[in-house]
């Protein structure tokens, strides 16, 4: 099986140098792209059915096509990599930037060429110190080799790239909040429209894509859309996906697999099944802000469509596994405390609603819950539903809670009636 994103990574944990990356076929995609027109590059990415890997799954080529092109378009445009990997339970972009930073850089250069951008930024979360060092080394190598800078590879195309390391806050992963952070401001999200493709960084057309999304682009250019589609087992999109698992499974980690493998294969084969003495109780399929799935859902495909049909979202594709010895209310409390803390405070339902939600869950977990708390909590999931808040943070926070109220209702009721949490781990 082909694993374009990870197969050349070195097992000793060091990053591929420029020479090693080139020897594995690196910068071939860029070479090809520069012989095509920007529109041809964009259309190739559209044909590959590459979809955004940051969580929303938006078709990448279509996103790019909203950028104004041609003579009348603004001269300054930007490409930004969203490397603010702060979704709890997600650790795939760390692998990419630590072990093969040139793949990200090449993907961004090709993307910049497709939309006519001359400046690009890698926005990396603060905690990835090793990744930051390795990206900086790779950027220096790419400048020296003439892949970055003026008139790259004699093409007449100019592109600069800079690394920006953040100073914390989950909301920076929201693309318009990220742009505010890059502009040196508080990372409150912006109103949409206008979308960043039209008015983004410093008011100029900007594409923000996830790190993993950009890493797919060189391979699509080098080997074509048909090859890329053949990697996938999903109708809705091409390529492989970096899946992963954390929690009480035998082999937690990141695994590059065809897009659209079943949840069962992910849990039982690649994650190795549950650790001895633990049973599978629930799964957050793609980070903290996705709805729980249960063992009944194991035969669905892990792609954007089927996970949505099952009432959740594929999100980042890195699953968090709830075992039978961990309290589901305790887990929800942990999640809601995180979201309450990370609310940017801009809109009232999120700023006030999330701490209230966390407080109710704390009461239930501590044995002080009241019967009416369950209704109040399910009311919260409606008050903070999509459309009632300024951005997707609070609706995302409600996803694990609303599904926990559905699948683990007896646990909520038992905590309230017995004034006690029966779990070993709570």
């Amino acid at each position: 099986m082909e694993r374009p994103l990870t197969q050349h990574m070195k097992s000793d944990g060091t990053a591929l140098s420029l020479k090693e990356y080139e020897a594995s076929g690196g910068y071939e995609g860029l070479r090809k792209a520069l012989k095509m027109t920007p529109l041809e590059v964009m259309n190739l990415v559209k044909d590959s059915k590459l979809r955004g890997r940051g969580g929303a799954g938006f078709p990448t080529g279509m996103k790019w096509s909203f950028v104004p092109m041609g003579e009348d378009a603004p001269k300054q445009k930007y490409i930004v990599a969203n490397g603010d990997e702060m979704e709890p339970g997600t650790f795939k972009d760390r692998l990419l930037v630590e072990l093969n930073p040139h793949m990200l850089i090449e993907g961004m250069i090709i993307s910049a060429y497709a939309i006519g951008a001359s400046m690009s930024y890698i926005f990396l979360r603060w905690a990835y110190h090793l990744g930051a060092k390795r990206i900086q080394v790779a950027l220096d190598e790419a400048y020296q080799a003439g892949y970055l800078g003026k008139n790259i590879m004699g093409s007449g195309f100019d592109i600069d790239m800079d690394l920006h390391t953040s100073v914390g806050r989950y909301i920076c992963g929201e693309e318009t909040a990220l742009l505010n952070a890059l502009e040196g401001k508080r990372a409150n999200p912006r109103n949409k429209p206008p979308f960043p493709q039209v008015s983004g960084l410093f008011g100029k057309p900007t594409i923000v894509n996830n790190v993993e999304t950009y890493c797919n682009v060189p391979h699509i250019l080098a080997k074509g859309a048909e090859w890329y589609l053949s990697l996938s087992q999903s109708e809705g999109g091409g390529g492989t996906k970096l899946y992963g698992a954390s929690g009480r499974v035998k082999n937690p980690g990141v695994y590059e697999l065809p897009l659209g493998i079943t949840l069962r294969e992910l849990v039982e084969v690649h994650a190795g099944g549950m650790q001895d003495g633990y049973k599978l109780r629930g799964i957050l399929p793609g980070g903290a802000s996705t709805d729980f799935l249960t063992p009944d859902h194991l035969d669905i495909k892990m792609d954007f469509e089927e996970v949505a049909k099952a009432g959740s979202r594929m999100g980042t594709g890195l699953i968090i596994v709830l075992d039978d010895k961990t309290c589901p209310i305790g887990m929800c409390l942990n999640l809601e405390q995180f979201f309450a803390q990370e609310s940017c405070g801009w809109c009232t339902p999120c700023r006030e609603g999330l701490p209230w939600t966390a407080k109710l869950l704390q009461g239930i977990e501590d044995g002080q819950g009241r019967p009416e708390d369950i209704d109040i909590l399910s009311g919260q999931t409606r008050y903070m539903a999509p459309g009632n808040t300024f951005c997707a943070l609070a609706p995302g926070a409600m996803e694990p809670l609303q599904s926990a109220l559905k699948y683990f209702r007896e646990d909520f009721e038992e905590h309230i009636h017995t004034h006690h949490c029966k779990y070993q781990h709570h």
Partner: protein, 159 residues
């Protein structure tokens, strides 16, 4: 008598080096705060006052940015900051045990600094290493698959 500067000439130079490529100086605000913190460990009120003319912003504007981000410290911190992940995968994998052990060893709770200024202890959201939970950072050093019995050896590395 002139007040002593809290932003050194060296730090000031580094901040002024951030401006090229940027459409206006305010865009360097976060990076400038990082520079101040690199030299001073934290950002004091005096540092905000001195930053204001450099960035062509008011000290209050800068403070509104500084207080938004959790890795910009507006209170003094120790020589080493211990960031313990308290997000969901670490919760499932038993971060509580590490938390209790660290609290005992450092004799401070989250938000505290040891009297000798050696450590500040803070919670941190998901460190993105969930396949090796529980995890923590000490300064820039990542420690994973933590067990309470490893903590003494880890902490001893930091003076």
């Amino acid at each position: 008598m002139a007040k002593e500067q809290v932003i050194s000439d060296e730090a000031r130079k580094e901040i002024e080096g951030l401006f090229h490529h940027l459409p206006h100086k305010q865009a360097a605000c976060i990076d400038a705060l990082k520079v101040v913190q690199k030299y001073n460990r934290w950002v004091s009120d005096e540092a905000l006052q001195e930053l204001a003319p450099i960035l062509e912003m008011s000290a209050h504007q800068i403070d509104s940015v500084a207080t938004f981000y959790n890795i910009i410290f507006r209170k003094p911190v120790g020589r080493h900051v211990v960031f313990l992940c308290n997000s969901v995968s670490c919760y499932i994998m038993g971060y509580e045990e590490i938390y209790k052990a660290l609290k005992d060893k450092l004799k401070i709770d989250f938000g505290g600094t040891t009297p000798d200024d050696r450590f500040t202890f803070l919670p941190i959201p998901c460190l993105g290493t969930c396949d090796h939970a529980p995890a923590m950072l000490v300064g820039e050093d990542l420690y994973r698959d933590l067990k309470p019995e490893q903590l003494d050896e880890i902490l001893a590395k930091y003076e």
